[in-house]
């Protein structure tokens, strides 16, 4: 009997693959050292399905150079648990896979079909399965449905997809060379100044991304507003009031604005013209990952990384296709009708699906973007086998409705513009009405705009101005990036990949370079960017990184080799590093100062001490090691303290608690969602109890650091 070893990317994927390939759909779940794997039976074949836990192998420097040494140019691929202590459990996974590989006759890589998946499978087959990569096959699939997995297994590619593997290796190696050298240099040069330790990092994608935020921050910081005026006018018709737009959106001088209001005060406006236009609104394109992330942010407020995590969950449950795609195309072989029939098994979509299936042909409205590995994101039509969490259900609903909308006909909207005149002054009244729902019906509530009513006026009719004012306004600074718009900017500039962009933004948050949802660059981020800009502008040049991305695409398409790209890049990186090392002292002084300021400002609250009005700050007790909020007026006798969460990194936000007005603190811990809460009443939402407390009860505040109950502070008094 032949024994086949299939390597998957995650345990959930392994379970699904095993279930799809087992004759009875009931594979045996086995376990070695807590590492699960599955045994599926098929005619004269035993299939062992094991999984990785993401990357089991990573890059480390060759030889015995200390971890703080730089520059480093020699590297090798090593088991991740030997490089990072946090990955210790991965050693059991490698051991288990190695022992399973000893009995295998045939090897198949069934990791996600993209650069990362191909590399994960390749590294396991090469290093843990004693060079089995040379004879391994590759399963290619875009959904985790049983049918597609079975087809992918039966028609597996005869060898690994080496172009993707090489592109993946090149990306990891370049990122490591850039990241390790530059980050060690920044951190160590600051540390040598003996002003405390801060992890300072930059990288091939991180540097230019941070520069976008810093540039925007500088624009905002240096912004000086200029005045302009708008004309606010209303008319009344049949008991309804309508707001008018003046022909000029902005009036540049006070004199002109005053003249308009004087000319038109109590004037009779005559309807000079009515312009009507019918606009066709074509259906949206199917979702690629960035469009999904952007739409999920717009409608649900999910950050890009969260949307990706939710989409991956839905993919592993075989509810949607592979989400890390840049394609806007839905090829017919995915089976439009079958998917729609599947969707119709859910009552809420049945009537919409029947409207689509009644049509003679199904043709999606597709965009131009393509992805060689996967189609656009689409629902598989399968029903959830478990109760979905609220956020997962939201995202699935969005994807299903978008999929249906792409097959629907265009919407028709009639827009009407009434032009009202008084001498040389023109005012507009704009309205719109949906004539035909088209795709909007399928995409509701995500794509609908309310109708705007207009008064029933005809050309030549006159209507008096009810009110007219010139409103003084000032120009606004450019808006800050949010996670979604920053991700879009990265995509526009071709920085990173669809799989890595959200993670890069998360890293910037974790490092303390950016903060808040409306992203602000912190002083240390401004300093690092200015230093890199001054001493090695290539590192923060988005054009250079974008060029590297294109070169990696060339590896994927077979137009370039990994060795060529690595050699070229090293030729550029080496002189940069040598130049930076020669300026280490100057760099270190500036960085250490910025890092010290940041550490201090990160720990200081804007909200004053309720007892003595001094500044409050986050303190770690030297005796107990615990963190708490303490008053800087301690030496003057103030003993005000508040407890703090003891795990995760803490950030003082710019927001205040709605219950007690105290400054909110955000806690980030590992891969958990960040939590924003009030250290004073410990409520992320104003609960009844907290409200009650804030209204009439004093809060007893204890300090773990001092080990006793220190004071009772009536909340009402210091509001």
């Amino acid at each position: 009997m032949i024994q086949t070893l299939i390597v998957c990317e995650k345990p959930d994927a392994a379970a699904r693959v095993a279930r799809a390939l087992d004759e009875d759909g009931d594979p045996r779940r086995l376990d070695t050292q807590g590492v699960p794997y599955y045994e599926a039976r098929r005619r004269k074949e035993t299939i062992i399905v094991c999984s990785a836990l993401g990357h089991l192998y990573s890059i480390d420097s060759k030889g015995c150079a200390p971890r703080r040494y730089y520059p480093v140019w020699d590297y090798r691929w090593e088991p991740s648990h030997l490089i990072d202590k946090k990955s210790a459990r991965l050693s059991r996974w490698i051991q288990t896979i190695s022992s399973l590989a000893r009995n295998a006759d045939r090897f198949v890589n069934a990791c996600d079909y993209d650069v990362e998946g191909s590399l994960i499978g390749y590294a396991i087959l090469r290093y843990a399965c004693s060079g089995a990569h040379a004879k391994a096959q590759r399963m290619k699939f875009s959904t985790m449905t049983e049918k597609e997995l079975q087809t992918a297994y039966n028609t597996a590619l005869p060898q690994l997809d080496y172009s993707q593997v090489e592109a993946g290796r090149c990306r990891h190696e370049l990122d490591w060379l850039y990241g390790i050298n530059l980050s060690r240099l920044l951190t160590e040069s600051a540390l040598k100044q003996n002003r405390g330790y801060s992890t300072l990092s930059t990288g091939r994608v991180q540097g230019p991304t941070l520069k976008f935020v810093v540039q925007r921050e500088e624009e905002i910081q240096c912004f000086t507003p200029t005045p302009f005026w708008t004309i606010k006018a209303t008319i009344q018709h049949e008991d309804e009031t309508y707001s008018l737009e003046y022909e000029k959106e902005k009036i540049p001088t006070l004199a002109e604005a005053t003249r308009i209001t004087v000319d038109c005060k109590n004037a009779l406006l005559e309807v000079a013209n009515i312009q009507t236009q019918t606009i066709q609104q074509p259906p949206p394109y199917p979702f690629d990952l960035s469009a999904l992330q952007s739409e999920a942010y717009r409608h649900f407020g999910y950050t890009p990384s969260r949307t990706l995590a939710l989409a991956e969950r839905l993919y592993l449950d075989a509810l949607i296709s592979y989400p890390r795609t840049s394609s806007q195309k839905l090829p017919p072989d995915i089976g439009y009708s079958e998917i729609l029939i599947g969707i119709a098994t859910r009552a809420e979509y049945r009537s919409l699906v029947s409207k689509l299936t009644n049509r003679t042909s199904l043709r999606p409205n597709q965009g131009t973007r393509q992805d060689p590995a996967h189609p656009a994101i689409y629902p598989t039509g399968e029903s959830p086998k478990r109760r979905l969490l609220h956020h997962e259900a939201n995202l699935l609903d969005l994807i299903i409705k978008r999929f249906m909308a792409t097959f629907a006909e265009s919407g028709l909207r009639e827009t009407t513009k009434l032009i009202l005149r008084k001498d040389q002054h023109s005012f507009f009244l704009k309205g719109s009405k949906l004539l035909r729902d088209g795709w909007i019906e399928f995409y509701r509530p995500y794509g609908s705009e309310p109708d705007q009513k207009l008064p029933d006026l005809r050309v030549g009719e006159k209507v008096p101005i009810k009110k007219i004012d010139a409103v003084e306004k000032f120009t606004e600074p450019p808006s800050r990036y949010n996670p979604s718009s920053l991700l879009r900017k990265m995509e526009d500039e071709n920085l990173g990949t669809k799989a890595t962009r959200a993670e890069i933004i998360e890293i910037l948050y974790r490092r303390g370079y950016i903060k808040d949802i409306h992203i602000q660059a912190t002083p240390v981020a401004v300093k690092i960017t200015s230093i890199l800009d001054r001493y090695c502008p290539l590192i923060t040049d988005s054009g250079f990184t974008s060029q590297l991305e294109s070169q990696m695409e060339e590896i994927r398409s077979g137009e370039a080799t990994r060795r060529e790209i690595l050699a070229n890049t090293l030729d550029r990186l080496r002189p940069i590093m040598l130049h930076l090392i020669s300026k280490e002292e100057a760099l270190g002084t500036q960085l250490a100062e910025a890092a010290a300021i940041q550490r201090k400002s990160n720990a200081t609250l804007d909200y004053p001490c309720p007892s003595c009005s001094s500044k409050l700050t986050m303190i770690r007790s030297r005796t107990s090691g615990k963190r708490f909020i303490g008053c800087t007026g301690y030496e003057k006798g103030c003993r005000f303290t508040l407890p703090l969460p003891q795990f995760g990194s803490l950030t003082v936000t710019g927001k205040n608690c709605k219950v007690c007005g105290f400054q909110l603190i955000t806690t980030r811990s590992g891969r958990w969602r960040s939590m924003t809460s009030c250290p004073r009443c410990y409520s992320s939402k104003p609960t009844k109890r907290a409200k009650l407390n804030s209204m009439n009860k004093p809060i007893r505040i204890s300090s773990s650091a001092s080990g006793g109950l220190l004071e009772s502070t009536p909340l009402i008094e210091d509001q």
Binding site: Q221, C222, F223, T224, P227, T253, L254, F474
Partner: protein, 76 residues
């Protein structure tokens, strides 16, 4: 030479401030000409007072405005 506001080194020849404050200074000067057209001829101190109070004004621009109010000779 260092910037009178943040004591950073001044890179560019002929500049009176560090890169960021110089940019804020240039913005304020440019804005003043727009304000002059918009309101007639405002007095420089009134303009600087007003700019300082506006919520849209950036932090560096506010610093420059305050500095120019205290050092009118720097308004060239």
């Amino acid at each position: 030479m260092t910037c009178p506001l943040c004591h950073e080194e001044i890179d560019a020849a002929g500049a009176g401030y560090c890169v960021t404050h110089q940019r804020a200074f240039d913005n304020i000067k440019r804005a003043f000409s727009t304000w002059t057209v918009a309101y007639g001829s405002p007095r420089v101190p009134d303009f600087l007072e007003q700019v300082q109070k506006l919520p849209q004004t950036g932090l560096k621009a506010k610093e420059i405005a305050r500095f120019l109010l205290e050092n009118p000779s720097r308004w060239k």
